[in-house]
């Protein structure tokens, strides 16, 4: 018998093993839901799948009686817009400051301690300030995401820039490169795939901040809807929304990964 650490699953076994927890969760839910519904047909906590379809059908396909909007679509668009705006803004600032900090010791001495301290401020604690300063509209939600993930991105990309072998920087100098040329031709292109990695890690927090901000003050959005229908214990809406958010999060993660593999083949062959 081989040691456990040396036993590798075949590709098919791997798929089956990976699918098992999902199937199990689903089965346990169906089983428990059946038991509860048998006892009390009006149970709201674990609705049957048919309830999901009827509840979501209304939100997806029928315009709201109050506003005439398709709520599910509207929620998704609003949330995605806030999320993407926040993430793109953070990525741009994080990339520029991270690389510059990593490249220029004087700037690093100047900014690094400040960013370290700022990154320790719990973003949720300043949410009230954001609401006061930026109002209850879109801007405060985007800003929460921005404040939540930018310090991490800056610090991560700064350290990734510093991790580039000093030999490379010396080599570039012996080829006559200026500071600016080293930044745009040696550092930046090598940090870009690492930015994608960092973004994949910060998408989780980004969603967290988005939903938190929407829960507290919004007119629409995925997080807003979940917290709204909580009052009526509408698990038939909450659960599909959670699944949808998870699916979106997974999709972004996957897209970023695929993009990185296409755009930076050299980065992925080296591992």
């Amino acid at each position: 018998m081989k040691r456990l650490i040396n036993i590798r699953p075949s590709p098919i076994t791997k798929v089956i093993l990976g699918a098992l927890p999902f199937a199990l969760t689903l089965l346990v839910y169906l089983w428990a839901s059946d038991i509860r519904l048998a006892e009390n047909p009006n149970d709201k906590l674990m609705p049957a799948f048919s309830s999901f379809f009827s509840a979501m059908g209304e939100l997806v396909f029928e315009p709201s009686q109050r506003s005439g909007e398709y709520l599910f679509l509207q929620d998704s668009i609003s949330s995605l817009r806030r999320l993407l705006l926040g993430v793109i803004l953070s990525a741009s600032v994080g990339l520029v400051l991270g690389v510059l900090n990593g490249a220029i010791p004087v700037l690093r001495a100047n900014l690094s301690p400040y960013i370290t301290i700022v990154s320790l401020i719990p973003p949720m604690a300043v949410l009230p300030i954001l609401f006061i300063v930026f109002g209850l509209d879109e801007l405060s939600k985007v800003m929460l995401i921005f404040i939540g993930i930018t310090p991490f991105l800056i610090r991560d990309l700064q350290s990734k820039t510093l991790e580039l072998p000093s030999e490379q920087l010396i080599k570039a100098q012996t080829l006559g490169a200026s500071t600016w040329q080293i930044i745009i031709r040696v550092m930046l292109p090598q940090v870009l795939p690492r930015l994608i990695e960092a973004l994949r890690l910060s998408l989780g927090p980004a969603w967290l901040f988005l939903i938190a901000a929407e829960a507290i003050a919004a007119q629409n959005g995925l997080g807003y809807r979940i917290f709204l229908v909580r009052r009526y214990l509408s698990m038939d809406i909450i659960l599909p929304y959670v699944v949808w958010i998870t699916l979106l999060a997974f999709l972004f993660d996957w897209l970023l990964h695929v993009f990185s593999e296409r755009a930076f083949p050299w980065f992925h062959t080296s591992r």
């Binding site: 080829l175 040329q181 031709r185 090598q190 080296s270």
Partner: protein, 265 residues
């Protein structure tokens, strides 16, 4: 005046003296190999030529001008590894040298000028025996090919001196022999000044026109850092007798057991 003048340089970190009383004159076109035990300061010496370290005392001048305290285009370098850029293909790695020169703002060339430098880069790839690797990334090249690329890249700027820091240390013996041929060919064609550190004394003797051995002449067992290394042998090569080789070989091996050596003294 000679091409490079090394005037009584010392290098000291806090209480540790790495190099002391190093003096030498180097004429243009010499190929100098540097040997010595690890930690003897030969890399520190190379870094002074490179400009990433500066002497604590004394001076090094090239063409009568002190060597600047940062790396520059007149001094090329090849390290044991990490010498090429992993995010650029072999060809792009060479083109980059021209792009730094001709595109100060974007660091990138387009159109006709790019075509022009591409031809130069391809010629350089052919010179080092990498003619069919244009589109390959460094990780897709073997260790020997990566070092060929690194050498080609350093040559793109036509440096006055080429510094090699154990460039073949990580290569297999067979490949190393090919690299020796390559470096000799390049040296004969360009007559660039070469300083090459090596661990392999045979390599040091075989290549080059002059061999420097770095070692400590004074040693205090109670204060091992009190004295630095200097050039103990400065041998013109090509007509070295077998005894000298043996002598140096022994002195290098003895340095590993310094206490025994002081007893001999």
């Amino acid at each position: 005046m000679s091409f490079i003048n090394i005037n009584n340089i010392w290098k000291q970190y806090d209480q540790t003296i790495v190099l002391e009383r190093v003096s030498a004159k180097v004429e243009a076109g010499e190929f100098i190999t540097l040997v010595g035990t690890s930690g003897c300061g030969k890399t520190t010496f190379l870094k002074m030529l490179l400009g990433t370290e500066s002497p604590s005392r004394g001076s090094i001048t090239m063409d009568n001008i002190p060597i600047p305290q940062e790396p520059g285009a007149d001094r090329g370098i090849v390290f044991q590894k990490y010498s090429v850029f992993p995010h650029l293909t072999a060809l792009q790695n060479l083109i980059l040298a021209r792009e730094f020169e001709r595109a100060p703002l974007l660091g990138k060339l387009f159109g006709q000028s790019r075509k022009e430098v591409t031809e130069q880069a391809q010629a350089m790839l052919t010179l080092v025996g990498l003619e069919h690797t244009d589109d390959r990334y460094p990780q897709q090249l073997s260790g020997g090919m990566q070092q060929r690329l690194a050498i080609a890249q350093a040559l793109m700027k036509q440096p006055k001196i080429l510094l090699l820091d154990e460039p073949f240390g990580a290569l297999d013996p067979g490949i190393r022999a090919d690299m020796h041929q390559l470096i000799l060919k390049i040296w004969q064609q360009t007559r660039v000044n070469i300083f090459m550190i090596t661990h392999d004394l045979k390599e040091g003797f075989y290549l080059g026109t002059r061999l420097w051995v770095f070692d400590k002449v004074r040693y205090d067992p109670q204060a091992p850092n009190a004295y630095g290394a200097t050039i103990t042998y400065d041998i013109p090569l090509g007509h070295t007798d077998r005894n000298t080789y043996k002598e140096i070989n022994e002195s290098l091996h003895h340095s590993d057991t310094l206490v025994t050596r002081t007893e001999h003294e």
